[in-house]
């Protein structure tokens, strides 16, 4: 029985993966012009070269044949060439940028989740008090703040005016490090403002959901029993908090896409060399092969992270673990 949840989620994973594959295949093909002709225009390539490229990318074949070729090249890492950085292969470009995005995403997911859930538990536990109002109101206030706006304001205050943090990039340009520790320090120093921007704009929804779940749970019988048994306040709070964790974990799965969105904007503001900044560049330069690949990479990252969140959810909720609903 516990397998059924896993099997269902795995099937969904495969379907979603397929949908993204198909979209990624179809979108560039509904555009006027093909990669070979666009490159030819841009770089004045001779007709023979265009012919070779068209043959290589099988652009003159039927759609099903193209799809097979597309799948084949996708899994072998031949993702075409960047229009802007020609002849840089898209795959190399993405792989250069991906680690930075994963670092930013990983760090900010942890800080967003941590800050959001802790504030939500406190607000829910002290519901109706001034603490609750303050936390809830602040959360509503920041909920609608655009990532890039807060990022730009942080950049202005701490980067341009106070000069305490760098205004952009992932490392100091041209820096030479004597020890690995220096490198780590430099990376963290550059990471601070982007992570802060994402955290402050994304934590709110976790706080609101955790608070409301806490309030709901505190009204349930088992909390009354726990109190009647004479358990210390802290233990009662832990009882409730443990159960209030479920919705935010599910949300982590659904909202991770939003954190990815936050990364796209924040990277753009700070010229942080991740996939998100690459998306911005490819929009500005109409570099469609790169845009497609970056979309594909981000989508896959989110889907895999969702799947991991589902597994965590299964571990946290015994009803699902034992297959009872």
């Amino acid at each position: 029985m516990p397998m059924s949840f896993l099997v269902k989620r795995s099937i969904r994973l495969v379907i979603v993966f397929f949908v993204i594959l198909v979209l990624n295949f179809l979108l560039p093909r509904v555009m006027p012009g093909n990669p070979a002709s666009i490159l030819a225009n841009e770089y004045q390539l001779p007709p023979e070269t265009v012919k070779i490229l068209e043959e290589m990318w099988k652009l003159n074949r039927s759609l099903p044949e193209q799809f097979v070729a597309y799948l084949e090249s996708l899994f072998t890492g031949r993702w075409g060439y960047s229009y802007k950085y020609f002849p840089m292969p898209v795959y190399d470009l993405i792989m250069q940028r991906l680690p930075w995005t994963l670092l930013l995403l990983g760090t900010s997911s942890l800080t967003v989740f941590g800050l959001g859930v802790v504030l939500g538990i406190v607000a829910g536990w002290r519901r109706g008090t001034r603490t609750d109002s303050a936390i809830t109101f602040t959360a509503v206030l920041v909920y609608a703040i655009p990532y890039y706006w807060l990022a730009m304001m942080l950049q202005y205050v701490f980067g341009y005016v106070l000069k305490t943090f760098p205004i952009g990039h992932a490392v100091t340009p041209g820096a030479i490090y004597t020890t690995p520790l220096d490198f780590v320090k430099d990376v963290l120093w550059h990471l601070t403002l982007p992570v802060l921007a994402i955290t402050l704009t994304a934590y709110a929804s976790y706080t609101l959901v955790t608070r409301n779940t806490m309030v709901d749970i505190l009204g349930e019988d088992f909390i009354l029993v726990a109190k009647a048994k004479g358990l210390p306040e802290r233990r009662v709070m832990w009882h409730a908090a443990r159960n209030a964790l479920l919705p935010p974990v599910t949300m982590l799965a659904i909202r991770l896409g939003h954190i990815v969105g936050g990364a796209v904007f924040t990277e753009t503001v700070f010229s942080y060399p991740g996939v998100g900044y690459l998306i911005y560049e490819s929009i500005i330069y109409k570099d469609y092969p790169v845009l497609n690949a970056a979309f594909f990479m981000l989508a896959i990252t989110v889907i895999i992270a969702n799947f991991i969140a589902d597994l965590t959810y299964m571990l946290l909720d015994p009803r699902i673990r034992y297959g009872k609903r």
């Binding site: 909920y143 609608a144 304001m153 990815v260 796209v264 989508a299």
Partner: protein, 293 residues
Amino acid sequence: MAMKIRELLARIAQVLYVIFVRNRKGLLGLSILLFFAAIAILADYLAPYNPYETVAPPFQPPSHEHPLGTNDIGQDILSEVIYGTRISFYVGLTAPTLAATIGLLLGLAAGYLGGAVDELVSGIIDVMLAIPSLPLIIVLAAYLGPSLNNIILVLAMFGWVGIARVVRAQTLSVKERPYIEAARALGASDSRIMLRHILPNVAPLMVAYIILGATSAILTEAGLSFLGLGDPTAKSWGQVLHHAHVRHALELGLWHWVFVPGACIALMGMSFTLIGMALEEYVNPRLRSFEAA
């Protein structure tokens, strides 16, 4: 009949009173929203210049003639911000309404008809929820080209999912109630049952979703415009920010150029969120913060 209408109006007035006057969140949200609505309606009188016209040298710091300075091609930033209010209202109201309509139809169909229709719709909902929407929205907007209506279309394509899911669940629970059975026994058609008996039950949810959806529509439109995917013929707050970013406003110390349009986006989004929360508290009294334990 007249009596019934009066009763209904009194009931609506009472609901509005509870949501917008007794609830401080609702009151604050409505006040901010009315403020922006006034700006949007009176834009022609409030804006000192035509936002699409070059009226001064570029990159002017704030001055008496140009309270927020001028942008990279000498347009008045204050006028841009004032006219941007209209775009935000347009996006914030059309996109979620369109999404809610799609969500309502699909949710009703799935919940009421069940069977293969339900399987299909639920399957699509499940997949849509698992697809990371923002990267996909960005890619679609990039391929569709810069037009405000394209952006609204893309937003609606992703906005309907949550509504469809809720409407489906609500329909499933309403459909089993005795009065529906009674209506069916009396020979009411499927469409009559859906429209007259189920729709009124899901309508309040729809209103809440449209209002909450407005926040995300406004934020997403602004985000797309910030990335350079905006409609150049319809200046929005996000586009003002885009130009400020591209032209290095902060490096030049022109922080007003960034601060004001961004604050407008945040405030307008906040007003919709506050109203949505007040509505939610009305529907689910357990969430009311003044109800101490």
